[in-house]
Amino acid sequence: MSALLRVSELVKTFGQGEAATRVLRGLSLTLAAGEMAALLGPSGSGKSTLLTILGTLMKPTSGSHVMLGVDLVAADDAALTEFRNRHIGFVFQFHNLLPDFTALENVVFPTAVREGRETAAARARGRDLLTRMGLGDRIDFPSSSLSGGQKQRVAVARALMNRPELVLADEPTGNLDRASAMQVMALIAEITRDEGTTFLISTHDEKIASLCRRQIVVGDGLVTG
């Protein structure tokens, strides 16, 4: 499998002077296309910071970050925003849907914001994704009326809307019961297989991690295993 992204010697420091905290200490990592990997490590190990940098929501203090051949450390905010929209999807622990929008409107958001309107094609893909997520009967429901598991499946559908090469999931099952968690993980595994999307899933749950083909362990700001 070819490399989708490569980070090397990644350093991230928060604060300055004596209050400075170095969260990442020269971390290097390569992710292959179509890979489903779990990111493990104790709290404070730097997992969330790494995901945030990989998601182009934050820049490292030093080091390199290249994805799809693009140097993302050198890119400006506008370029990163467009890159993120086209190539990266997010699934957050608390789903983070837009509460005043329906399930379908939440899913098509990444495409609509890029094209300036909700096209018929985008809506068709959004419906298809929600149906695959088992939410065919909840398409036009306000997101606020869905259960926790349903919201998380909507969030997964939204992350996949623009057919991104990489989906970053930060504790996607952390807020769900076991059955819902397994349902979401099964969907992720299916999509990885069908669409060749790379998933990097941050989790504390060994059982969830065991469902992934690769486990990356982070400790003290470095990849330790």
Binding site: L57, R86, R117
Partner: protein
């Protein structure tokens, strides 16, 4: 940006009560703006109609001729004829100019007149008066004599005179009585009182008498021409421009009413300035209201803004969402306020029917379009600060909230 507009509308409809309250606040501001515009405009209209409505808007007076210089051929004696008080300057070509002036756009009436001083005598009583000779048929061209008549008729004929109620009272005159009018030059004539008017202006009611133009010719010994031409305009604010036009057309010294009305103009300007201040305060209230409401909304929606940014929404998109909300609030508030303002002004009498004791509200001077435009612009400006704050939201921090 169509999609950003959809999101802006969704945000507004999601918090219906808050939006309704905000739109109501803006509408009240616009209502005050329109009410003030109608009141200030109506008041100016009322004051002008009461002070200037019955006077000439543009006046052409005969210019005094330079005194003749008599140079004695021998010696150094230079003699001039002194300007006589009784010798009146005349506009001899008036019959030619009147049709010309009448053709000038905006001119609604032209009144050639002969004016002068005189004495009105009845028995042993004598009053000094100002005599105006009017062309029969044009009695009400400038001063609306017909409208002010309390007894008799304004129609002037040979041997008839019309005067004010105060003067009639001073001399104990009643309709049909005869009286003697003598010009300052000593020519006198006997006239019959055919009408009594009351304008409410003490000067006019107490010392003005109106006679037919031929009578005035006799009194002031002017076989031809007139001493002044008074012109009334449809729009008295156009007096300066029309006077210039008449001057260019005839070569006569046409003087607009504004030339001798500095104090009135100052008072009207001061009144207009007060109106601007009040309207500015109304707009400032709108801007502050919209800005504070949108700032609160920005704070409340920080996590959502963070999600949008994470999903690939640029800063410009976020700015547009909040600016569009401001514009929509301004537009809805502006239209509502304008409609309410119009409805509130409907019961007031039209500008031509203003009466003392009532508010002279001019519904046509509500500045509805201006109020809506300024409100939308103000609301857009008010939303820029919250929009910029929203665009600066750090998605990482906001999503973590």
């Amino acid at each position: 940006m169509f999609y950003a507009l959809k999101i802006a509308m969704r945000y507004l409809t999601a918090s219906k009560a808050q939006t309704a309250l905000l739109v109501s606040g803006v509408a009240v501001g616009v209502f005050i703006f329109i009410f003030m515009s109608a009141l200030i405009g109506g008041l100016a209209e009322f004051i002008l109609s009461r002070t200037v409505g019955d006077i000439s808007h543009v006046t052409i007076k005969a210019e005094d001729r330079d005194p003749a210089i008599l140079i004695v051929p021998e010696g150094h004696i230079l003699a001039v004829t002194e300007r006589g008080r009784l010798r009146t300057a005349t506009l001899t070509e008036a019959p030619t100019w009147v049709p010309l002036i009448e053709s000038v756009p905006g001119v609604i009436a032209v009144s050639p007149q002969i004016t002068g001083a005189g004495f009105l005598t009845r028995g042993a009583q004598v009053a000094q008066v100002s005599v105006t000779g009017l062309e029969p048929g044009r009695e009400s061209a400038i001063l609306n004599l017909d409208g002010y008549m309390v007894e008799g008729s304004a129609r002037l004929g040979s041997g008839s005179v019309v005067l004010g109620r105060r003067l009639a009272g001073d001399l104990s005159l009643s309709l049909g009585q005869t009286l003697r009018l003598q010009s300052a030059g000593g020519v006198s004539t006997v006239l019959t009182l055919s009408g009594i008017f009351e304008t409410g202006n003490g000067m006019i009611d107490g010392s003005s008498v109106f006679v037919a133009l031929p009578t005035a010719r006799t009194l002031f010994a002017l076989p031809q021409g007139v001493t002044r031409i008074e012109i009334k305009l449809a729009d008295l604010n156009a007096a300066d421009a029309t006077a210039l036009r008449i001057r260019a057309l005839t070569g006569l010294d046409a003087v607009p009413w504004t030339d001798g009305a500095g104090q009135l103009m100052e008072a009207l300007n001061a009144q207009a300035q007060t109106g601007y201040f009040l309207k500015s305060f109304a707009l400032i209230t709108i801007v502050i209201g919209v800005a504070s409401a949108l700032l609160l909304s920005t704070y409340r929606r920080r996590p959502e803004i963070g999600i949008m940014r994470a999903m690939g929404a640029g800063r410009g998109f976020v700015v547009f969402v909040f600016v569009a909300q401001g514009a929509l609030i301004g537009l809805m508030g502006g239209l509502t306020g304008a409609a309410l303002g119009y409805l509130a002004l409907l019961p007031f009498p039209a500008r031509g029917d203003f009466r003392p004791g009532t508010l002279p509200m001019d519904i046509t001077q509500g500045s509805y379009g201006l109020a809506i435009t300024l409100t939308v612009i103000g609301a857009i400006l008010a939303s820029i600060l919250p929009a910029r704050a929203a665009a600066r939201v750090d998605p990482v921090t906001a999503i973590g909230q």
